[in-house]
Symmetry: D4
Subunit: 168 residues, 8 copies
């Protein structure tokens, strides 16, 4: 990671989280927002995690997206060591359908918030990062509005297809 | 609400949510961040809610905090009609300990994220709004760092008190 | 959609809900009850959803069936903008087995009810719409009674088959 | 119960359910909809329950509201023996916060639907009965629209009060 | 079913429950305990169910095993109309892993107990029926003791095999 | 405990379970069924528990009722060391509302059943013991039928009282 | 904390955890095992927490007990930075009855175990620390055996008292 | 099992638990810690289980790892009859994703702790046994530190691979 870091730091507890977290990267790319990718584990690389969190703001990172599963300490721990907004993605593991990941990430004590998105929803983490950056960037905000218009158009298309398939 | 709105819009489904949501207001005030307060119900005032969401960005609001309980549609619906980052606060009702509120807020479909904080944790919603604004405001970010230092100092104090009480 | 709408409006948040919601259409068809099908998403097409809900009664719709998954706001939001009875179908998503969908739909605040059926049970939504229309239509009610007699007969048949297979 | 029964039959498994179910009666009264009240237990008075369900439509009842707690069989059993729409109210007991009541009522098998409302929400059961009757009664539907307008006005009032209390 | 019924009545809400309930039949057969099999649905054949429950004791049935899934009313409803001990088997459906079935069966109100066994465990329902009959039949009780000895021997065998496979 | 034991052994993990388990004793007394009371803890008195379970049948006990909370091993362990039917009562502790107690008792492996009743429902455990003994005792079965008639009468009385209080 | 630390380090996320964690201290004192008490928060004092964990073994600590509530990262994070056995105590907060605390502590990824005890059970954490130390200390193990004998005696006493109160 | 037993006793309720429990054996082998394997069922071999637990300490066993599923009594029962530290592994069964196993193992009453690890995580049980033995064995503790360093290195490798695959 260089001194002039991209605006979003995208980290995850394990490379096996990529199927979920890659969707965040894809969303960021769609909006032309730069990001860096790291595998940083709260429990397997605690020192690296602390270093990453403490250095992020100084390096130019403005939003951190952190995904983890099970006793998912990563998002909260990173939030504890940075003043940046941290987005947490509950990655579902083999058992419990991500409920443990969700509660471990969202139930933070007063003082240290984590912006939690839905279970396994890396895309929404990316879109939330865009919205956060767009809070001080009108061009980006306009793109988000345009994206929301596209979403609506997509629904209309799907409706047309469904009705056609029903002979309606 | 005037044309030059404060940076944070703080809304809730019912005035009975104030004991939870007031803590968000308090946190914002501590950081000198302006906010406006509204009672906006997704299910009882759907038109007002849509109007609020659609107008917010244009009025100058930069972050919306929305709290609701049970089938808590407010945060997600507001997010659907604004490009701004929306923070959702699951307000616990009489039954189910806020689990219904949490799932109704956090489990958003791909496309429309809500930044969800812990059950009943209005304070963290306020602090998350500060972090989001601080992503493009170094002065505010410094204050957040200072706040985190205070948090640590407070823990040290409490430790001293506890040890003293144990005669240790 | 024309001015003289059929009695039942069948909407869903996504065309991927059709495997669940199609069973509602099938049940309505069996009872000779007309319906229209729409893809209307609370979070992706909030304006269309509000328009649909506000216009439904005036267009002649008498019962609305709405299916959605996850943070399933559609049934409740539609109910907030129409005086018609709204039937909610919790569509199960990949995680949590539909528990999030169920709670998001059924836990409505006092003032705005949603008639919720079992998880993934589109057929029961269709049958409930028939019962509601039958509350003021004796012919339809007689058909429902006949259907219930058929259900009982089907159980007797299955019992006979099972016993035969056991050599009993 | 006389031959010319009121349009709504309001039954509950135990008189201890009245604090929840009385709110349904109140809602019906507000809309001028007649109702009769009965204590009918699926497990303690199964014969009476079957008799009630089988006779209801013939007696002139058009909608049944049934509340019960725990292994709450009443709403589903009544629905099994009548073609009328049956509204189920999950009454929370001392343990499990009504989750058992909710699942026992809502998770009906294909063929026999129960229109389930939120845990402990007798009022919504009453309002849903009104909506069902209003599906074929324009005057009643207009009253429901008026009620929804009042709900919105009430929210506005509460907002004003909250803002005043905040000195805003 | 004849006047001189076997000691155990084995009923289920649907023939699709047989993969679970057949294991109860198998256990009964192993102990030489006679049984009859029926498909009796609380919600699809309520009258038949009541008739079955009311007649069972008079016909010579001494224990009833009832399996059902979802809003599983069958075991409790049968228990409400017979003085015989009723064993309930929670059959898991497609969603919720049988938790709804379990709560619907076990959470009976004071007055009417159902002897509930583990989710999907038809075999244990059969063994429990044997234990109940054995409470007044020493020969049968001796067979149960012998069965428990066999269970222990089976574990010893499996241990030997496992150790052998580990080269231990 | 003497050689000629009463037909029911009523044991519990702790004397603090008496408020729940005393209701079982009361039910047994109402039906004139003898019982003995013991405090036997699976985890604090494992040897005593094994001795109790192994000796019970020989001493003349015919049904065992066992109540416990949390990681409630008592009912299952007793069932493992006796051929008698064992009724398990999930006693709710301070946290989790008895869900842990319920799952620990009901989810027995194939081979060793426990007849589980509802959370905190000692009365139903007593009534289930009566039903089990009544499976081979017509006089007792007649009393159970009479009790069920009384239950129905009690509901009718409560209905009358409720209606009177409503001025109906 | 001095160089020659006691064998057990007892830490908690907040001084408000003392009502739960004090019971661990009490158990240690009963067995004559020395301990030190600290307030160390994963989220409010991440650096102090890392320092504590990294130094513990070198200072002479042999077992760490860590209690925390909600998104309870403390036990797992400490375990990530020490080779010592770490005992986790899920402290229940105002909502969710400690289920979030339990899952956040127990669901650790492969590589870093936390020895989790029951919700709110500080005493068992203390006793587990004693058992761990006793694994290499026969005198301590003998004391544990004696304690278990006392537990059994206490149950016998309680049984006698209960029976006496029942006039048995 | 000989008089001079290895330091770890690894037991499980059924040989079908081996896919989970074998990972504990593997971890122990990696650290050069000896173990013995047994199939010991609380419910199918209660006498053998009690014998095993009572004899373990005298035979030289220093830590017991016990895995079981469903109403998983094994770890707690073994803990009740030995002063040794007992590690419990919740083995997930076909339904409920191991939640029943977890609660049955972790929710032990005050007095008898079980050191519970995550659902299905045999490896962590093995590693926890190593940490417990390492509490009085510096060589072993050094190996654990080395293992933790390897874990961190492995994460770094995976990060490099992921970045390479992203062309980063």
């Amino acid at each position: 990671m260089t001194e002039s870091a991209p605006p979003v730091g995208l980290i995850m507890g394990s490379d096996s989280d990529w199927p979920v977290m890659g969707a965040a990267a894809e969303a960021l790319a769609e909006f032309g927002v730069g990001y860096e990718v790291g595998v940083v584990s709260a429990h397997r690389t605690p020192v690296k995690m602390m270093d990453y969190a403490q250095a992020a703001a100084g390096r130019g990172i403005r939003v951190i997206i952190a995904g983890a599963g099970g006793a998912a300490a990563l998002p909260g721990m990173v939030a504890s060591a940075t003043p940046l907004p941290v987005i947490g993605v509950p990655v579902p593991l083999k058992h419990l359908d991500g409920l443990d990941s969700l509660l471990s990430i969202v139930q933070m004590p007063a003082g240290i918030p984590v912006a939690t998105v839905s279970i396994g929803n890396g895309r929404n983490a990316g879109l939330l990062a865009v919205r956060i950056l767009a809070a001080s960037d009108e061009t980006l905000r306009d793109r988000m509005v345009a994206y929301q218009v596209e979403l609506a158009a997509l629904v209309a298309e799907k409706e047309a297809t469904l009705r056609a398939s029903l002979g309606g």
